[in-house]
């Protein structure tokens, strides 16, 4: 780590805001795992808890933004310090979105609990959620340690999640073709899968902030993309997110 500032209160401010980001990360990881668990086990109480827990995540983001505004106004950070503040704000925004996706997953799991289960789809989703949460955790750990190599690796592995999403997409298509009565549940599960895939993108963007923090530049070249299925990643109405 860097040597301390002459003015030690500056270090305390920077550490405090970074600690809030880590706490936010922990809450988001848990919310995603709980939401996926609620989907798999049809645990409605857990799903409701996840929905309610999103408020704490949103409040932390507001705290972080207020602290960053104070840091910018009062400490006039430059160079690496400035990049800490900017990256913290972007990571908090990525985590807030991820928290919204967890909340949306919990909401849909309540609807799905009333429907006929679709084979092993929800356990595939749980697997995907665990992979994405691991990716988030690695990205935040890389942030703390300023580990550029780890961050590059996370970026490179984004396609794993994309592939899981693509295979889930195929699975859901099959269910819908087999029996049109599956369409309602399959649509919900598809949005859930898409949202988890987006959390993966946010983990990648956090990894990119690690690179920005350490080097002052965002990685240039396009990261590898998994094969694109016709219609699998097309534009369309976005039911995901929303507070």
């Amino acid at each position: 780590m860097k040597e301390p500032h002459i003015l030690s209160a500056f270090d305390r401010d920077l550490e405090a805001v970074q600690a809030h980001v880590l706490r936010m990360g922990g809450l988001v990881e848990q919310a995603l795992l709980d939401a996926a668990e609620a989907l798999e086990t049809r645990d409605e109480a857990l799903a409701v808890r996840v929905q309610q827990g999103d408020r704490a995540i949103d409040a932390l983001e507001e705290t972080i933004n207020a602290e960053c505004a104070r840091l910018l106004a009062l400490r006039a950070p430059t160079a690496g310090d400035l990049r800490v503040v900017l990256s913290v704000m972007r990571i908090a925004a990525a985590l807030e979105r991820s928290g919204d996706y967890a909340k949306n997953l919990a909401k849909r799991s309540l609807v799905l609990a009333e429907m006929r289960p679709l084979g092993g789809t929800s356990s595939s989703i749980q697997r995907m959620a665990r992979t994405v949460v691991l990716r988030l955790k690695e990205a935040l750990d890389a942030y703390i340690g300023h580990e550029v190599a780890v961050a590059e690796d996370i970026r490179a592995r984004d396609r794993e999640v994309d592939q899981m999403y693509n295979s889930l997409f195929r699975e859901l298509l099959t269910h819908m073709m087999e029996d049109p009565r599956n369409i309602g549940a399959a649509m919900h599960l598809h949005f859930i899968a898409k949202n988890i895939e987006r959390v993966g993108d946010h983990a990648t963007s956090i990894a990119e902030q690690v690179i920005y923090l350490a080097t002052g530049a965002l990685p240039g070249e396009e990261r590898p993309k998994a094969e694109m299925l016709p219609g699998a990643d097309g534009a369309g109405a976005d039911l995901a997110g929303g507070r």
């Binding site: 860097k2 040597e3 301390p4 500032h5 002459i6 003015l7 500056f10 006039a76 950070p77 430059t78 160079a79 690496g80 310090d81 400035l82 990049r83 002052g216 530049a217």
Partner: protein
């Protein structure tokens, strides 16, 4: 990395004004400046930053041969203004200083009237024919220094009777009255309040249209606000010289980063 320069800070098309190559300064035994190579651009504000004793003021004083007046100082290396060696024996240091003006840390008006403070330089350099022309130079210089409206009714009052901020702007008016090509400023705002500082900074930004301005400052924020290029000096060496936005967001040298972020360096 992406170019982060704002349009108004674009300095790419500007040519070099002062070239310094291998400049060394000794004060007696003390090696105050070590092998400085730098190109100061025309119509650009260049900030020199660094801790006390780093050599930034010493280097500034080399640019108009002010170190000639210090008995123990020995200057080596080559400094050119528009390609001409300023140490050439045919160069008159007084003429050089008319071209390369200077403003000091503390406002130091002559114990004369406001008018005569500004008229002094043009008069001794014979830049004006007759009183009307001289008065015109005084007015233009005071206007450029954003002081005219405040003093136009009392040009015969002593310059020393003005407020600190006004005195500093008077010294700037005096420095620009001889139509210099380069203006050197050694911490011009350190004795000024924030409003006078803002006025001087606005003035510096306007002067950039005509002059090359070099400013030594201990205020990082001032360097960031007014300059397009920043040079960081440390222990007598020029550590890093680059576009100001780059220096303040992504300095290349860890010593620059330690200094501008307020760490022990």
């Amino acid at each position: 990395m992406n170019d982060m320069r704002l349009v108004e800070r674009d300095v790419e098309q500007v040519t070099g004004k002062i070239e310094a190559r291998g400049v060394q300064v000794h004060y007696g035994e003390k090696h105050a400046l070590k092998d400085v190579d730098v190109t100061i651009l025309d119509r650009t504000v260049t900030a020199f930053i660094g801790p006390s004793g780093c050599g930034k003021s010493t280097f500034l004083r080399c640019l108009n041969r002010m170190n000639d007046t210090v008995a123990s100082a020995r200057v080596e290396g080559r400094i050119t203004l528009d390609g001409q060696d300023i140490h050439d024996p045919r160069i008159d240091p007084v003429q050089l200083r008319a071209k390369v003006g200077m403003v000091f840390q503390k406002p130091n008006p002559f114990p004369k009237s406001i008018h005569d403070n500004v008229a002094y330089g043009p008069r001794i350099h014979g830049l004006a024919r007759g009183k009307a022309e001289l008065d015109a130079i005084v007015e233009t210089s005071l206007r450029k220094a954003a002081l005219w409206d405040e003093v136009k009714d009392r040009l015969d009052a002593p310059g020393t009777g003005l407020s600190g901020g006004q005195q500093q702007r008077l010294c700037i008016a005096r420095a620009i009255a001889t139509s210099p090509e380069v203006l050197l400023m050694d911490e011009p705002c350190s004795a000024l309040d924030p409003i006078a500082t803002a006025q001087v900074e606005e003035l510096i930004d306007e002067l950039r249209a005509q002059f090359s301005v070099v400013i030594v400052t201990h205020s990082m924020q001032q360097a960031a606000r007014v300059s397009q290029k920043t040079a960081f000096f440390h222990l007598g060496s020029l550590v890093e010289y680059g576009e100001t936005g780059q220096i303040f967001t992504n300095p290349r040298d860890p010593r620059t980063e330690a200094y501008i972020t307020g760490r022990i360096g």
